[in-house]
Symmetry: C2
């Protein structure tokens, strides 16, 4: 049997501690599967004294992750520090430059520096594996990078943030409003004290930017992502969606269009009969639509120490099975130097169906005026529902669902309707997404 | 750039022709992804003269697939002939013995001879890839063999046959009976003239046996699979399931229990709110439940020329990316010689919930007698629903849903109820399966 694979782990938070514990518990299985053992010979973290419930007595301690990344005798550097710059970036760069394979769970780092790091990895002939960076334990990177070789991706979309999905799921199941639900999620530890990163879509955008590069062979560009969060979703939206056969999910969507690539993160109506509509709570899901395969969907735990550790260990095992001299596939499916510049499609050119909820003054002719503005902008309607508002007799709710139209047309029509003075409150516009 | 990978393809039916066409159409992408081209330099099929709509002029023709498998200059032998013995077996064996990598879509072959073939492949140090053999284009083999390294699987289950799922989906959507639906499926080409293989569960069993080996590191044993088909599912079952919050799917389930491994294929009630319940029509799905990850679900096209070709090409691309000297992971996750004997759990020991539908004579005391038999066998009931039968006043329908109990207890209770003389027709018993 070959010698054990010697790895160094930087970052011993929830995921790091789980990786160390699982490697110890599963030594026999991993050895049988990989043809050799996997041994953490060195570790690094901020606080050496902290009790993490794992045995680190056999591993050399480093205060500096960069020194660990360069340490002789380390074949794989596992980066679980987090953060898009700082020590994580310095250590990963140092490891790759020193010819070490790297495994990372760091979506922010890859979203910002992925192409540069991939270029170094490919020049040095080492692997840069990052399954845990997107959708936790779901093997979406392996699927897109390896299983779908030769497929041309048309669209990739998914539920990539467990906190947002947890909140939307509870809002629908229990009929409670966004603020109450967020407070509950914070109390239970599903949402951070500052929840902006999760609920406004930044986390989803980081992950989406990586999937976009894998899907379309373009450079990563997280700054070009159109983003709307879920904080303005109300019970009225959820109820109206349900009546019309839809469910609201925070999706990240990347799609090839004639004018470029759309990357967008926003609350989205998906058909309630679709598979992705059944993805509840903190579970994540990714759907990939290709020319050869049609739609493939993967769903599973998107976070959590053990689920994320599973992806990290899968990445390490792939390296353990390889041998010196092995020529690896490129980090983002296409060689880093061949990735094309990201060409952003204009959001105003986005084509799709729209859900529009308007609260209007109960006056004669309002309904006709709204329908007229839609027609003037060439927006054809799939359905139009008018409700009395039980709590406010002078107001009515009008819900419109459009056939495929453009973002520009919808924005123009809604602005005109607003300027016409019919609305009592801000209009709500939610995009509809096809899903199998 | 390295030299192109030279492959030989035996079998030019729907999948084989699609592989040839896609390799030609996607030469540039594949070369960029793999670092070298993939060229079919030789082909074999039964009828040389047939027009398959693909250009074979650059490939050498072989009448004998075994001769192709051994032909010098072939690095990968792609077996798309089909059949568990005969030329497919002879050719795959010959290719492996000659030190060629093999890619196959042949579930029947692997189900019967997989361990023997894996042993040869591992001795010769070549790859035996078979993504297309289970669930078509869904990358379940790659996920189980690579991504889930170190995970201990508790249960794997799935919708593995598109024909059966298509029939069940239409029966529910349109309220038509099994025979009408089957005839429709045959007319549309979704079911064979002899549909036994699909609807009685044999096809599901073949695929399940491969997943079982990957999940539990045991030898493949398709002959030990408990099997029930869907031909006795009625509208009464589908309606009762729906009222109780379930949907009926033909599942293959493999599960580790105290007494061994359960492998079973049968119509199954799954919660209508589960992801797998939304898998409609010819789509397939596989759920994998592990200690580290929880439940992971993959769904997508389980058949069709291009979807299956996608899996075959993914397998070939993995070989194209590897280089001589690369040590491959074992064919079934564990080295073939280390696979444990399959230890079959007794079906009577199966523990789970049950749906029981009885048509009874409308006599005083029948209801109490049935409830009494359940209690005598220690079966606790989650719900019991009694319906009048509109078409037959003298009959009533009783639907019972049990809490977790054993197959032995349910069989005994149902036999006793039948012998008590209360039933007007054969009782219907459908197992319930947990699903996320």
């Amino acid at each position: 049997m070959a010698e054990a694979l010697r790895i160094g782990i930087a970052g011993l938070g929830t995921v790091g501690a789980s990786v160390v514990r699982m490697l110890a518990a599963k030594q026999a299985e991993l050895t049988r599967q990989c043809g050799r053992g996997i041994v953490p010979v060195a570790v690094s973290a901020r606080d050496r004294g902290k009790d993490r419930g794992v045995d680190l007595s056999q591993a050399q301690w480093f205060d500096d992750p960069v020194a660990l990344a360069r340490a002789p005798g380390i074949e794989v550097f596992v980066e679980l520090i987090g953060g898009e710059d700082g020590p994580a970036l310095a250590a990963v760069r140092a490891a790759l430059e020193a010819g070490r394979h790297v495994v990372t769970a760091n979506k922010a780092l890859l979203s910002r520096h992925g192409v540069e790091l991939a270029t170094i990895a490919e020049e040095k002939g080492v692997l840069l594996n990052y399954e845990a960076a997107v959708a936790g334990g779901i093997p979406v990177i392996k699927t897109m990078r390896e299983a779908l070789a030769g497929n041309r991706v048309n669209r990739v979309f998914g539920i990539l943030n467990g906190t947002a999905n947890y909140i939307l799921t509870r809002m629908e199941a229990e009929g409670i409003d966004f603020e109450t639900c967020l407070a509950e999620a914070q109390r239970l530890g599903y949402a951070e004290a500052d929840p902006t990163f999760d609920i406004e879509g930044h986390d989803t955008a980081h992950k989406l930017s990586i999937l976009t590069s894998l899907a379309f062979g373009c450079r990563i560009s997280a700054r070009d992502i159109y983003m709307e969060g879920i904080s303005n979703i109300t019970q009225a939206d959820i109820r109206a969606a349900s009546e019309l056969g839809y469910r609201i999910k925070l999706l990240g969507v990347a799609q090839k269009t004639e004018s470029g690539i759309e990357q967008r993160v926003h609350p989205t109506m998906v058909p309630v009969s679709s598979v992705i509509a059944q993805v509840h709570g903190v579970t994540n899901a990714v759907a990939i639509e290709t020319d050869m395969l049609g739609e493939l969907l993967l769903s599973g735990p998107g976070a959590g120490g053990d689920a994320t550790a599973s992806a990290v260990i899968g990445d390490i095992a792939d390296i353990a099975k390889s041998r010196p001299g092995f020529q690896h596939g490129p980090v983002f499916g296409w060689p880093a130097r061949a990735l094309t510049p990201y060409q952003r499609a204009r959001m105003r050119a986005h084509a799709g169906g729209y859900f529009i909820r308007l609260t209007v003054y109960d006056r004669t002719g309002v309904f006709a005026a709204i329908a007229g503005r839609m027609a003037e902008n060439d927006i054809s309607l799939e359905s139009i529902v008018q409700h009395g508002d039980a709590t406010e007799e002078a107001h009515k709710t009008v819900v419109l669902v459009t056939h495929e139209t453009t973002e520009a047309a919808v924005r123009k029509a809604v602005t005109e309707i607003t300027q016409d003075g019919h609305l009592t409150t801000k209009p709500q516009v939610i995009r509809i997404e096809r899903a199998a």
